[in-house]
């Protein structure tokens, strides 16, 4: 993996961008930051709606979406940091994976959200990262693909999650030292009983847990394929590892074989240069993002046909400025992120009209805060993050930069020394 020069603010972004903010934004279309901050802060006070309860299973992702949107708006302190950390820690299972909320089963989707939240609040030492990596590695297949959980669903999203988890864990290990976290004695490589105590002490103590009722017949318990794993690297003492050290180019990221993963991602590639969620599946902007960002983390963007895919992505822009995710479909604000981040990683984000896109995104603001997929639908926190992140990429004034590979504030990925080459 190749790390870009940390001194640049946005990775190796080309300097010759021809479309730049400040654009002339119509006066009635400006980002109403205050109402979005209020909207996000109020999300946890909606317990009188059924919506709140039927989305409980993805609460951890909800926190990631809300917190990251706040961070991009420069307002991450609006959420109580300690409360956020406590919630994240309470969602971890003995296996190392995280559930979507307390008392929910572990899954890759929420494991990444957990680490992303901790990265944003600068608390990746709050959990046993070795356990997290063990969980991630346990879901790897010999062909380089990853399962979402023990039930075996394979999807390019999970390969991306594995890679970003590994990048975050590697970065945090450089920062805190391998095996050093709040539940471990300082300097002791492995936390002893840390997760167990923490988990038992949390709300989920005494409730059903994974090892007790794991399926007894199908599917088989995930075995750790040899091709994906290698012995852990020698553990440097915390003092000897610089947080900004750039490791030499290698086909490994921690214990992940990035060439193997890249080869599987490439099997998802299609006739139009795009990628689907599994080999053979139709190109879809969301899955293109997970595949392109995966290849960026693997340092294998050479495997993408930039001009062909860049053209296909540019054709996602519709007359009203919004972007769709597949040909001949409706626009949706979340594709502002999936398409634009992919274009930016490929160095082709100037191939669409950012001003028109900004106009469409801003038209999706709800009068009481938050963004919907398209007007006049209901706002939700998922679309709110991807709207604000896309506005940041376009260069809307007053927003913090966002890393197109990790969907984290660039400030976070830069300080962790995990910025990869793109653009």
């Amino acid at each position: 993996m190749t790390h870009a020069d940390d001194s640049t603010h946005t990775g190796n972004r080309p300097r010759n961008k021809r479309v730049k903010y400040p654009l002339e934004v119509p006066a009635n279309l400006t980002l109403d930051t205050e109402s979005h901050v209020t909207y996000i802060k109020e999300l946890d006070n909606k317990k009188d709606t059924l919506e709140y309860w039927v989305t409980e299973h993805l609460r951890l992702s909800g926190v990631y979406w809300g917190l990251t949107a706040l961070a991009i708006m420069g307002r991450k302190d609006e959420l109580d940091r300690e409360q956020v950390i406590e919630f994240v820690v309470g969602c971890q299972h003995r296996s190392g994976g995280f559930g979507g909320s307390r008392e929910h089963d572990p899954h890759m989707l929420y494991t990444l959200s957990a680490l992303q939240i901790l990265a944003v609040v600068d608390a990746l030492d709050a959990v046993d990262r070795e356990k997290v990596m063990q969980y991630v590695l346990s879901l790897g297949n010999p062909d380089g693909s990853f399962r979402g959980d023990e039930w075996g669903e394979v999807d390019s999203r999970f390969a991306y999650i594995a890679l970003q988890c590994a990048a975050l864990v590697e970065a945090a290990d450089r920062k805190y030292g391998v095996g050093v976290w709040r539940g471990s004695a300082q300097g002791t490589p492995k936390g002893v009983g840390g997760v167990e105590e923490r988990v038992e002490g949390g709300e989920r103590g005494g409730t059903a847990s994974q090892p007790v009722d794991a399926p007894s017949t199908a599917p088989p318990p995930p075995s750790q394929p040899e091709s994906l794993t290698s012995p852990p690297p020698p553990q440097p003492s915390p003092s000897s590892s610089s947080p900004h050290a750039n490791p030499p180019k290698t086909s490994r990221l921690g214990r992940l074989d990035t060439d193997l993963i890249a080869s599987w991602v490439l099997r998802c590639k299609n006739f139009d240069g795009g990628f689907g969620n599994v080999p053979g599946a139709e190109s879809h902007a969301g899955h293109i993002f997970t595949c392109v960002a995966s290849l960026a983390i693997c340092g294998r963007l050479d495997l993408v046909d930039r001009d062909l895919l860049g053209w296909w992505l540019a054709e996602r822009q519709l007359a009203n400025g919004g972007l769709n995710g597949r040909p001949e479909k409706l626009e949706d604000v979340c594709y502002s992120w999936w398409v634009l981040s992919s274009l930016q990683i490929l160095g082709r984000d100037h191939w669409i009209d950012s001003r028109a896109l900004a106009g469409f995104i801003l038209s999706c603001q709800d009068s009481s805060g938050g963004f919907s997929d398209r007007p006049p639908d209901m706002p939700d926190v998922f679309h709110t993050l991807f709207a604000i992140a896309a506005l940041s990429m376009i260069g809307y004034p007053g927003l913090n930069a966002v890393d197109p590979v990790y969907c984290l504030p660039t400030d976070v990925s830069r300080k962790l020394g995990m910025v990869v080459e793109w653009g």
Binding site: R18, W53, H104, G206, A218, F271, G280, A281, H284, W312
Partner: protein, 501 residues
């Protein structure tokens, strides 16, 4: 995350508002009580019918509650363990009917489709349900022709392997015909065009590809004349037309070769776009275990060279376009159940005498069921049946390398099922010019014309530059894209004039 949730009209009447709130509170209380009950059951490890009914009640309200699905599967697995197969079959069918109902309401829920795959894998006799499911998913694609979950599930069913249906439920030709049907229903069905690109080569692997390509050009022409602004057919046409042969070394694929009986040498024949040398031995794996004692030698029978692309004329005694990787004498390889043979990291193993290397990572992969000899192309010593090789060649230029034994490479050139002749290029250019006469402001024929003029070659960029300028005006959102295409062509022209000296 749910998309397209319509905003409700704000209720102003306080009485109605109050009543609405009350109803909502009641529903919340009921839902939370169900959750509490199911968690209690799970904690107490009570995997009984009452627990199963609870999961059903919750999932009917909220099919996204993934851990409730998990618990439901745990209960079912335990119960099925104590039932005879025919009862398991009945119970699984009931589970599929539950999913039928839920998928009608939530056709885009990943968790529902996951659970359906699990049920299929759990069925003692899946073959009886697969045909029914294929009809069901076809009905769903009639309602929403672009639901990618539906298309993915169709592909899952097609790939489903079971002893009762050893060759699967459908052939590549059937699938190809299905895409024709869907495209005929609606030219705008990009999902169907996509699927067509993946099955075209397989459907005509044993002949008729060229005739079909003619028909596909005709199909595209009907589509673009009907609706020139629709992207779907244009994107497919670009793929059909392919692109200029690049100066890039690539691996065209590989297949198993051996004598008709397996007493002699058996191995993998790997084919490259040009002659290569060995730098380091590639890793050959059976499942995940590397095979020890793989032998390697170039194969270059004269009659093969005659039929290979022009690049290979530089073949010497040590470099070849064809490399034979001989298997060690390994019984587990020759017979056994399903297993996968991989050749890893070809990009590290081979390079051209010029020093040119494969610019992509290349792995080969082959799934073998049962006796290896069924997959082997007849091979004796230095002699390879040229017909087999030519067949592999033709197929390998498409998106997937598929011999008639289902071998496939993981990385191949995704472009074009066949190189397109100059005659076809000229004919398509002619057709585009006619369309531009009728639809002068349609951007797609103009852009396609630029690419086809590139393919014809020639240093005169004037017409192409004029079209690209025109496109910048016609399609302002992508103005810079067209200007980039223009400067790229100027750059290439300068570079090529330097190379020519």
């Amino acid at each position: 995350m749910e998309h397209g949730r319509k905003k409700e009209q704000k209720e102003v009447d306080p009485k109605i508002l109050e009543a609405k709130k009350e109803r909502e509170q009641k529903r919340i209380e009921e839902y939370r009580q169900l959750l509490r009950d199911v968690r209690h059951k799970r904690a107490a490890q009570e995997r009984d019918d009452a627990a199963l009914a609870l999961t059903r009640s919750i999932l009917t309200i909220n099919p996204e509650a993934y851990d409730v699905w998990n618990f439901r599967r745990v209960i079912l697995i335990e119960q099925f363990g104590q039932l005879p197969p025919d009862e398991v079959q009945t119970r699984c069918k009931a589970e599929l009917r539950l999913l039928d109902e839920l998928l009608k309401v939530f056709p885009k829920s990943y968790w529902l489709w996951n659970h359906r795959q699990w049920v299929l894998q759990t069925l003692p006799h899946p073959e009886k349900e697969i045909a029914r499911d294929l009809a069901l998913v076809a009905a769903m694609l009639n309602l929403d022709a672009r639901n990618f979950h539906g298309w993915d599930y169709r592909r899952y069913l097609i790939a489903f392997r079971d002893p009762a249906i050893p060759n699967g439920i459908s052939t590549p030709k059937t699938e190809f015909d299905y895409t024709t049907k869907k495209i005929d229903q609606n030219f705008s069905n990009y999902s169907a065009w996509h699927y067509r690109s993946t099955v075209l080569n397989k459907a005509f692997a044993s002949g008729g590809l060229e005739e079909q390509l003619e028909k596909d050009f005709e199909l595209v022409r009907s589509a673009i004349y009907t609706e020139p602004a629709d992207q779907s057919a244009w994107l497919y046409q670009r793929w059909l037309l392919g692109r200029q042969q690049s100066n890039v070394l690539s691996c065209l694929g590989g297949f198993l070769v051996g004598p008709p009986s397996l007493d002699g040498e058996t191995g993998i024949l790997v084919v490259f776009s040009a002659a290569v040398d060995v730098v380091a031995p590639p890793v050959v794996c059976l499942n995940t275990t590397a095979l020890v004692g793989v032998s390697m030698r170039p194969v270059s029978p004269a009659h093969l060279q005659e039929r290979t692309p022009a690049e290979s004329t530089t073949t010497t005694t040590t470099s070849s376009q064809f490399w034979f990787l001989g298997f060690p004498n390994d019984a587990t390889l020759v017979s056994g159940n399903s297993r996968t043979i991989h050749v890893r990291s070809l990009h590290e193993a081979f390079q051209a005498p010029s020093g040119l290397r494969l610019h992509r990572t290349v792995d080969l992969e082959l799934d073998v069921e049962g006796d290896l000899s069924r997959f082997v192309v007849p091979f004796t010593g230095e002699y390879v049946d040229a017909d087999h090789v030519m067949r592999a060649f033709r197929v390998s230029q498409g998106s997937e390398v598929v011999s008639d034994h289902e071998s496939r490479t993981t990385h191949v050139n995704q472009w074009a099922p066949q190189p397109v002749s100059r005659d076809i290029l000229l004919r398509e250019i002619e057709s585009l010019r006619e369309l531009i006469e009728i639809e002068p402001d349609s951007k797609w024929p103009l852009l396609t014309l630029v690419y086809l003029l590139d393919r014809l070659g020639g240093d005169d960029l004037k017409e192409r530059e004029e079209i690209l300028d025109r496109l910048s005006h016609l399609d302002r959102k992508r103005e810079i894209f067209y200007q980039d295409l223009k400067s790229r062509r100027r750059f290439d022209k300068i570079v090529s004039s330097i190379l020519k000296g």
